[in-house]
Symmetry: none
Subunit: 203 residues, 4 copies
Amino acid sequence: MNISDIREPKQQRSIEKKKKIVEAGFKLFSEKGYHNTNTAEIAKEAGVSTGIVYNYFKDKKGIFLMAVQAYAERIIQPVFKSISELRSPFDLTELLEKFIEALIESHDLSRTAHEEMLAMSHTDEDVRNYFCYFEETTTNTIVKLMEQHGIKPANAYEKVHIAMGMIENLCHEIVYHKHEYMNYEVMKKEVVSAVVKMVSDQH
Amino acid sequence: MNISDIREPKQQRSIEKKKKIVEAGFKLFSEKGYHNTNTAEIAKEAGVSTGIVYNYFKDKKGIFLMAVQAYAERIIQPVFKSISELRSPFDLTELLEKFIEALIESHDLSRTAHEEMLAMSHTDEDVRNYFCYFEETTTNTIVKLMEQHGIKPANAYEKVHIAMGMIENLCHEIVYHKHEYMNYEVMKKEVVSAVVKMVSDQH
Amino acid sequence: MNISDIREPKQQRSIEKKKKIVEAGFKLFSEKGYHNTNTAEIAKEAGVSTGIVYNYFKDKKGIFLMAVQAYAERIIQPVFKSISELRSPFDLTELLEKFIEALIESHDLSRTAHEEMLAMSHTDEDVRNYFCYFEETTTNTIVKLMEQHGIKPANAYEKVHIAMGMIENLCHEIVYHKHEYMNYEVMKKEVVSAVVKMVSDQH
Amino acid sequence: MNISDIREPKQQRSIEKKKKIVEAGFKLFSEKGYHNTNTAEIAKEAGVSTGIVYNYFKDKKGIFLMAVQAYAERIIQPVFKSISELRSPFDLTELLEKFIEALIESHDLSRTAHEEMLAMSHTDEDVRNYFCYFEETTTNTIVKLMEQHGIKPANAYEKVHIAMGMIENLCHEIVYHKHEYMNYEVMKKEVVSAVVKMVSDQH
DNA sequence: GATGAATGAGAATTCATTCAT
DNA sequence: AATGAATGAATTCTCATTCAT
């Protein structure tokens, strides 16, 4: 299945109904997980009949995919916005710290949802493809924003990708893992420091 | 459920039967995923009856948990072994490169299995706990091995944890993602370089 | 349901719309079978809305019934026409052979449609009734045409009915069954011969 | 699907359970038709759980196929038996008349079942294949029995096949159609006469 | 007359787990 | 300890028909 297969309703009312279904799906997937949520429940939560769901979505996973998109965009938009509003010169360390704070907050808002999406990204091709696409877009955007502020490291794409992975890991660690012996403030400092070094390195 | 709930058979024949079930489960989970494998299939693959499975395991997930453990140990033992055989002084960069090569190979051998486990680690508490425990053990072991070779950075646990995350991300990226615009050799070099810098940094 | 329940539109535009629906239905039933065709598809194929279908037809089966009628008439009209154009004296054997050829061709044109209709004639009373009615009409017409050419066997109705059944079976056999050990040329000859004998027999 | 795919239970209890399911299916298909009978009902009627049905049958159609076989054999065995008990010389006309009587009786016993099967034979490949196979077997058996009594017409297979078709049509006509203007006694006589002529004809 | 979104009952099938043997 | 037949709840998706617009 391709994301573009999902029908795009043209009428305003339909658009809203579709949105309602996605929201209902997101809510339930977040609360109980994908496999423990059935379409009837989603329909009920959305206040529609079970049948109509399949007018808007190819199948249950279609709802999930839309929810993933909506979620990902909701998370990333503020980040982009705040970066694009930066005025040079700025302190990279400080920026990264703010960035991490923002991400942690987002994760905190919908832990289970995020976990479910990651889980699905490991087993479902469509979800994996979307995540892939999302990572690429994000990486590209960040590299461009960096250029605009005069930060042009060698191997920019690779470095940004690595840095994003580190930050994602860190947030994940802080929000979920609770390795008790780990000092999260220290970790954050180390991550920021490593990222700054990597990005600053012109080889 | 707790891992210790799983009954430990004392008889030799029983131990082997249990092992067979775990192996069968691992094979099928790897090939088809957790949700697409049913207990009857596992029993058949293991050459036992469906009923007996529940003498050895509390439920289907119990088999999965044991399979995860077996898998994780199979992956990590060679790594530990090779590190412990190191003779000082050694080249950290080279070591990390070998380490990464070995991990990529392991991932390659059982991609689906690994993916399934990660997926489950996001949704199932028992699996998450095991991963957590595994990470702690690994981190501790590595920190100790490092000390034995005279590498004693500040914030050792945090640094090792971050480094492990970076390496895991890298391997994952290389084995599965195939972001086409990414140069994996460059990425590898950057990761190794960042890790070396981080670990070498005495603050 | 009775065929006469189906509303007869008086307006020209309506008549054409109804015809279009029947044609769309016939096409799809032929291609995919009655049970695998849904009314939405029929409406779409006909270029009308799903709702309007129920202005013209009591239900889905109503469309099927009309399609059956249209089909039956399309098949039988050429046969009647060619018979009525006969000039006495004519060779009965030759006539039957031509007749059979024509029927085989018709069957070939819409195998699935024909099969679907037969299938429905076995389980649906309305369809059965229509087939019954159609058989009676055909029998009557043929008996009359025979009389006009001086062929007046005893038990004419029964004989014609039996002969029609034989010919129908033959065509069916040739078009669908493919019993491999059967020589269809021989079969055709035997059927013609049996029919000729039966009809010629004045008792 | 192939008939041989259906699992053959080895245990006596299993065989009986399978038989029960087939009988329940046959009963319900007969009463309400294939499409109006669901597996839950069949299971209930058979006194088993819905799940177990799928231990014995690949799917719902599997039950139907078994029922068709059981039915066909139940119908044809007495016919074969009575023919094989014949002592030459015998009166062909009389034999055919008895044969027809017997068939009509069989049809009468399970009209709906028979109709359902015919209907399915038109739309389902597996059912069609079974009918095809059944017809071949029957034709072969009859040709052989005829030979044993010294009846060896030219084109025996074709003639027998045609005759069987005529008789089947006749029975069908008598049992279901009720074309009111048709005299069934006359029809029967005509069919018997036509068959006798065809079979007696040595060309 | 016309639209097409909406309904919601319905149905086949699966499968973790149990239990009589 | 071992078997594997049996359970039956649970779930996704379909579709003839209706009805608000």
